[in-house]
């Protein structure tokens, strides 16, 4: 596959805004969509895949880094992991119970634990948000010094984004489920 940066007409750099990616993608993908008389299905698909890669900070950084990554667990991830794993397990357990509770008493018994769970989810999501903000700052730093860079810290940053993104979506999914009971 061709380089995602080149496909969408961007220089190879760590920092790229979602808005810029979306805008370039829509213009090019609109022109090559197979429904158009001069469309090109293969190019359209490549553009879609390229945009999906560039939009994901973790995948985008891996495209720029020669180091394979994954060899070191980011410190923050190592610290957060036990907390998040426990929380997810608790959440699934309670959500399952609430969803199958068939009478008023069983639901009432769950009210207090669910309230605590919601609180824990919110505070952990805040923690993740803070972590992400610090990752964004680091990304700006790397971009300022670009193309000079340390491949190890690049791949560590890529991994950090991957953990933060995955955990955020897992926790948010549980929180959404709670919000909609």
């Amino acid at each position: 596959m061709s380089c995602p940066f080149a496909l969408l007409g961007f220089p190879r750099r760590p920092l790229l805004s979602d808005e810029a990616i979306g805008s370039a993608y829509r213009k090019l993908a609109g022109e090559s969509h197979p429904d158009q008389s001069d469309g090109d299905a293969e190019r359209f698909r490549e553009l879609s895949e390229a945009a999906a890669i560039l939009r994901d900070s973790s995948l985008r950084l891996r495209m720029l880094s020669s180091s394979p990554g994954g060899s070191l667990l980011p410190l923050e991830a190592a610290q957060l992991f036990p907390q998040i794993a426990t929380l997810l397990q608790q959440a699934d357990n309670l959500i399952e119970k609430q969803a199958t509770a068939s009478n008023a008493l069983a639901k009432a018994v769950l009210a207090a634990p669910l309230k605590n769970l919601r609180h824990d989810l919110e505070s952990t999501l805040n923690q993740l948000q803070e972590w992400r903000t610090s990752l964004d700052r680091e990304l700006i730093e790397i971009d300022l010094r670009w193309p000079e860079h340390d491949p190890n810290s690049m791949s560590l940053l890529a991994d950090s984004y991957a953990y933060a993104g995955r955990w955020e979506s897992q926790l948010k999914e549980r929180k959404l489920t709670l919000d909609c009971f």
Binding site: Y25, A29, P34, D35
Partner: protein, 584 residues
């Protein structure tokens, strides 16, 4: 010429692109909305539309309505609970002694639309874009496509309804750059799609929905309300149809009026019923159903990575969005006033016409970038779902996966293809399975690449490539939805024989599960709050829960159900107090 068709749960429409404008076509009575109702006379051709609707009250057993809710479904799914058939098999409807598939019934509606268009235009109309709910899965989309083919159309595209509506909305605003949410609550289904409009490009960012949530459910709720108000307990099928009609009519009336009197002449023998009904009453009956749309709205926003204040427009389409309650709730969820500029019944059909015009090249510099609503994956060893193409991926899309032999000389491997968002394979929809053959080779050396592609209709195709030879072939997916008639009949016979003995066992199991949930809950509740109850209350609760325990051991279904009801009753105050404490 490519026609655009909105094949709706309640009504259907057809239109074409004529001299630069999308036009919806009317039948000989001048009506554009054709009721999606098919009446099967004892002999002769099926009757579709308003005539079919008129026959429904007289012959409910020979009339099919809301067939869209059954298309691409199997017996045993929630939607099919009123039909009998072997679990897991494609749904069929018994009409006039024959078993009809939902595709066949839908094809009758499509044939009627085709005839309306041909009569109006004086020419053959045999190519079509047909819309489906965005949240339709692969089986439902493929079945809709088959219905189109049965009706004699070349189906040029299966198009998602909210995307079509967005196209109708955006046509006059091609220069704009905006983020819009389309809230589409139709007769049987709900979709929420978020799109970015940017210089003629319509990019769907995310979509969520429920293919079992719509005006039909609201009518049912209102019919239930009417029954309670009138104190009727038993209903003939004919009465049911009339009651549902009355419910629908009062729902529509109460969208504009505050109160009405529902008249049901000769409902019970010679008695006519007059039931006063207010908008407040139907709103409290429909509220919980409409509230179910909230979760989908929030998930779609989350998937699009947007906050509701970042949306420029909230567009409402679908007949059910005429209800003031729906408009209020949508406004509340998104924190903005809805845009009601689109005709709720016609926007989707107009969008389908426009997509037809794009495909035939009459409408240029407009492109729709749609997404697949559900993740596509395969079942892994441990019974988990391994996602291969995640939901909200722009289509057409492709993804490859490499498979190898786990033991030497393994001749092949069975791959189960799934669609859905759950982690456990079994919780998702099984699209079907296929077998990939391995050439004889040592462990881990056979290499077969499998390519999954989702086409512009949102329908899956699988291609297997043997890596050493490079030979490719299309893999037939053994769909669980296409089983032979004989197999259906064999399973049907079996399931009827077992139906009765299963019944009591199932009721007992349900009651047992409830008891197992209830008994520990009582203990926890008493531990936390027992001191705040009167000693006599605590004593009563203890008594009732020992009776549940005893009934459970006796394995008597009726006794257990009665004991549970008594315990439920005795613990009501306790439940309320507990809730107050938690929320306080």
């Amino acid at each position: 010429m490519i026609a655009g068709i909105d094949l709706g749960t309640t009504n259907s429409l057809i239109g074409v692109y004529e001299s630069g404008f999308p036009t919806l076509l009317a039948d000989s009575e001048g009506k554009r909305l054709i009721p999606s109702v098919v009446f099967y006379p004892e002999t002769g051709t099926p009757v579709v539309g308003r005539e079919g609707l008129r026959m429904q009250a007289l012959h409910p057993e020979r009339t099919v309505s809301s067939v869209k809710r059954l298309i691409g479904r199997r017996f045993g799914e929630e939607e099919t609970n009123k039909l009998n058939g072997p679990k897991g098999n494609p749904v069929t409807l018994p009409v006039n002694g024959q078993n009809l598939t939902p595709e066949q019934v839908s094809a009758e509606i499509l044939k009627r639309l085709k005839a309306v268009a041909e009569e109006r235009l004086g020419t053959t109309v045999d190519r079509a874009v047909i819309t489906v709910p965005a949240y339709f899965n692969d089986a439902q989309r493929a079945a809709t496509r088959r219905a189109g083919e049965l009706a004699g159309f070349v189906v040029e595209r299966i198009l998602s309804e909210p995307t079509a509506a967005a196209l109708a909305y955006g046509l006059d605003r091609l220069q704009e750059n905006a983020r819009v949410a389309v809230y589409d609550l139709g007769g049987g289904t709900f979709d929420l799609s978020i799109l970015r409009l940017d210089n003629g490009v319509f990019q769907v960012l995310s979509t969520h929905g429920d293919t079992r949530l719509g005006g039909d459910d609201l009518d049912e709720a209102i019919a239930g309300l009417l029954l309670r108000e009138a104190g009727i307990t038993t209903l003939t099928p004919e009465m049911k149809v009339r009651l549902k009609e009355a419910a629908r009519a009062s729902k529509e009336l109460l969208s504009n009026e505050e109160s009405t009197i529902v008249l049901l002449p000769f409902m019970e023998g010679s008695t006519s019923l007059e039931i006063p009904l207010t908008r407040t009453q139907i709103e409290s009956a429909c509220g919980p159903i409409i509230a179910r749309t909230r979760a989908h709205c929030l998930r779609a926003l989350e998937d699009a990575g947007l906050k509701s204040e970042e949306l420029d427009q909230l567009i409402l389409v679908g007949g059910s969005t005429r209800m003031p309650l729906v408009q209020r709730l949508a406004a509340e969820i998104f924190g903005k006033q809805p845009n009601l500029s689109q005709h709720p019944d016609e926007a989707v059909a107009l969008g389908a016409v426009l997509q037809g015009a794009i495909l035939e090249g009459s409408l240029q510099n407009v492109a729709l970038l749609d997404v697949t609503p559900l993740s596509l994956g395969i079942e892994t060893f441990g019974g988990l779902m391994n996602v291969i193409i995640p939901r909200n991926t722009t289509i057409p899309a492709k993804a490859g996966e490499m498979f190898t032999n786990a033991v030497a000389g393994q001749s092949g491997m069975k791959i189960i293809v799934l669609q859905g968002e759950r982690e456990l394979a079994g919780d998702n929809w099984t699209l079907g399975s296929f077998e990939i053959p391995f050439p004889p080779s040592p462990k881990g050396t056979a290499r077969v690449g499998v390519q999954f592609s989702i086409d512009a209709d949102g329908i899956l195709q699988v291609l297997a490539r043997d890596t050493p030879t490079g030979s490719e072939k299309i893999v037939e997916i053994q769909s669980a939805v296409e089983v032979s008639d004989e197999a259906v009949e064999a399973m049907l016979a079996g399931s009827l024989e077992h139906a009765f003995e299963d019944m009591d066992a199932r009721v007992f199991t349900e009651a047992r599960l409830k008891a197992e949930e209830m008994l520990p809950a009582v203990e926890v509740a008493l531990e936390q709050l027992g001191s705040e109850l009167l000693a006599s209350e605590v004593l009563e609760i203890h008594g009732k829960s020992s009776e549940v325990q005893a009934a459970l051991e006796s394995k008597e279904t009726v006794r257990l159900k009665q004991a549970l009801a008594a315990l439920d009753n005795a613990t009501q105050t306790l439940a309320t107090k507990l809730l107050e404490k938690a929320m306080g």
